[in-house]
Amino acid sequence: MSRLELRFLLSAAAAALLPLLLVWGVGYKVLEHTLYDAAGAKVAATASRLATVLEARIETERRVLTALCTVGGNPYRTAVTALAFLAELDAVEVELDGRHAADSRFTVLPPGAHLPRVPAGSVRRDAWGEPTLRIEVDCSRGRLRGDVRLRPALDLFRQVPRGITARLYGPQNALLASSDLSEVLTGSPRPIQGALRVEQSLGNGWRLEVLAPRTTLLLPLRKASAGMVLLLLFALAASALPGVRLARSLTRPLVELAEGARAFTAGQVPPALTETGPEEARLAIRAFNRMAKAQAARTETLAEAVKARTRELALALEKAEAASRAKTRFLAAISHELRTPLTNIKGYASTLLSPDVIWRPEDAREFLRIIEEEADRLDHLVNDLLDFARAERGELALLPIPMELSTWLKELEPRLRELAPAHPLTLVLPPEPVRVIADPERLLSLVFNLVENAGRHTPPGTPIRVGIATNEESAVLFVEDRGPGIPDAIKARVTEPFFQGERTAKGSGLGLAIAKMVAEAHGGKLLIEDTPGGGLRVVAHLPREKRDAGTDRG
């Protein structure tokens, strides 16, 4: 049983039992007072009755003895007569008219025997344990002393109502009789706590005490209390089972909800909770289950979004890192590319300007040609950079004009051969004219870059084919070589700016990127494919010129 269930049960029990206990408590007090009043009257009546009887008996003995004393006569006969008349008289001693005699009920006394000298009113016990009271009466003719056996009189105490203790004390507070026989035998009263007490003096130092112990007085009430307690316990036990069931019907849903909340706190989505208990608890669990379901859906969506975003960020990071690495490589390469012609230009210019050497004119011309060549190379390099920068900013300006590609390419053939002097270059041109709208300067840059790239990355002597093909939508300008090709892993990246497949490769790393930008600026695309039999084929698709049939025919 949980603490909550226990508290619920105890609270319910307290709410049910407290009024009963309160009523019982008040009733108990009222009954207690009533019982005390009744017992007080009973005790007083008992004391009065005992006192009256005892006083009467003692007084009777005294009066008989007084009468015998007054009558006088033979003291011996007086003594014997006293014993005969007074059944409780055990022994008697008579002094009359100066003569003395004594007699005993059980013993033959020798002539001149005397009773023991003890004070009048004192009590003694003989070998049988019987208390005897010394009585003395005086008269004008003499004196009588008698020992009165008290036991027959004290048998009165046996008639004291049950539950009441009656005690008779003699002089010096000696206990003479009690309704409790054990007190008589021990000679001392047992302590009785919280008792109603009535005391009555019988004269001559005698005292009667009557007590009614509280425990005895309240015995009926205690029996009723015990019955009440049993009844309450029974009621408690009888209500415990449905009480526990009710408490559990309330606590079980709470426990379920707590378990569910704990699962939420731990970052888990709890399984659907069982709907138990009263309707209110079922509603709460139902609402919790709906909330858990919605939360689970939101969590799943969020997780997917986070996963996708993470993938994007990872890709972007990878690209950024690759671009950073490429830029680093480019800077290193471009520095070298810029430095090499500049070094040559500076070296040859310094040589020409050396004051202590007079160069022959042909040598000087050769030096100047080299300087011019290096300056062209620098110019070319710088133009590439500028084009790329413009393209990246979206400022690559096109001046498209209608042009026929086959003728244009055929006119470029000598310059193309110069770009790859170590390779046999073949033009592959279709028989019909191929018309496109394009910027010839940019298109020139595209073709030069592709041919120069093929010449740079293929072994000397391997052929390069430059050609044009067509389909319905586009004109295809291609450059084919028979070199080692490009691994598939980096094929998609060779058109990225500053990408160089080989660290030792010369060039800015912008050739293919610029070619791609030019193709795309014309509304086409640049593809890199493997050629059958080995080698690489770079293809630039260019949209064909849209001409109506009349114009075409005219």
């Binding site: 059944a87 013993t107 033959v108 049988w128 019987e130 048998d155």
Partner: protein
């Protein structure tokens, strides 16, 4: 729901052992007094017909049947009850010389499982002689009939001897060990002739009292008996508590035991009222007239 509590009241039982019809008077007094105070009390009386073995069996059966107290009316009954039982308190009614029997250690606190009412017959033997002398001051010799092997006899004889010395009366001893001894009583009555005969407590003498009285009357010798019942049967004088009075006194002690008082701490009681009884019908034929003042104090049987 009803809570049913069953309770049963166990019957309170008291057993009484009596050796024969001679002591039934005590039983009568006891039963009457008990019934007055305890109407629902069950009292089982076992008459042993003078057989100790039979009394012992009775005692055993009464204890096994749940008797709360066994009441005996004499020494032989008390001995049988002690031998036949183990736990039940035993209360004797009318036993002489309690201490001499060994049933109790102390009159004020018996200490065992036996207590009771001592009839005081042994101690009162001297007083009987004294009363006789008061009634008949000319008495000089008294025949004493006694059963030597009976426990109270030595104590009774001691009291009697002290009294005889005080009173100046000579004692003639006549021991009786069986009923047949009474046959030779005649010889004891002649030389010298006693003024009276006095019996001490003895079951032989009590059971053959009528025969004894007849023999004494034949010889013109009055008998000093033990109690009122013996004067009814022909004794001239008796001083002692009546059997009925002893029975009633015993009933009060039974009540204390039934109330739960421990028997070991219940003092042995003396008879409340020894009474003087004179039998004029016995005295008249013998030509004896007691002193008038004694006659005034005595009761008739």
């Amino acid at each position: 729901m009803l809570l049913l509590i069953g309770c049963s009241r166990q019957e309170t039982r008291v057993g009484v052992l009596v050796s024969g019809p001679g002591r039934m008077e005590r039983v009568t007094g006891l039963v009457q007094a008990l019934k007055e105070n305890y109407p629902e009390l069950r009292i089982d009386i076992c008459n042993g017909q003078g057989s100790p073995a039979h009394l012992q069996r009775c005692a055993r059966e009464l204890e096994s049947q749940g008797a709360r107290v066994l009441v005996t009316v004499g020494g032989i009954e008390t001995q049988s009850a002690l031998a036949g039982t183990h736990r039940v308190p035993i209360l004797y009614v009318g036993l002489a010389a309690s201490l001499d029997w060994g049933f109790v250690k102390d009159l004020r606190a018996p200490g065992g499982r036996v207590s009771g009412v001592d009839n005081g017959y042994a101690e009162l033997t001297g007083k009987r002689l004294e009363w006789w002398v008061r009634a008949f001051p000319e008495t000089r010799r008294v025949l004493v009939l006694y059963q030597p092997e009976v426990i109270p006899t030595p104590r009774a004889l001691a009291h009697l001897e002290r009294a005889s010395e005080t009173l100046g009366v000579a004692l003639i001893r006549f021991p009786v060990q069986s009923a047949e001894d009474l046959v030779r009583l005649k010889s004891a009555l002649n030389s010298p002739r006693p003024n009276a005969a006095l019996i001490l407590p003895s079951h032989i003498l009590e059971n053959h009292l009528d025969s004894l009285i007849a023999r004494l009357n034949e010889a013109g010798i009055p008998l000093i008996g033990l109690n009122r019942e013996q004067t009814r049967r022909g004794a001239a004088l008796a001083f002692g508590a009546s059997n009925r009075a002893l029975g009633r006194q015993g009933a009060r002690m039974v009540a204390k035991l039934l109330a739960g008082y421990p028997v070991a701490a219940l003092p042995v009681e003396r008879p409340d009222l020894p009474e003087l009884t004179l039998n004029p019908r016995a005295l008249g034929p013998l030509g004896l007239s007691p002193a008038p003042w004694v006659l005034d104090l005595a009761q008739t049987p």
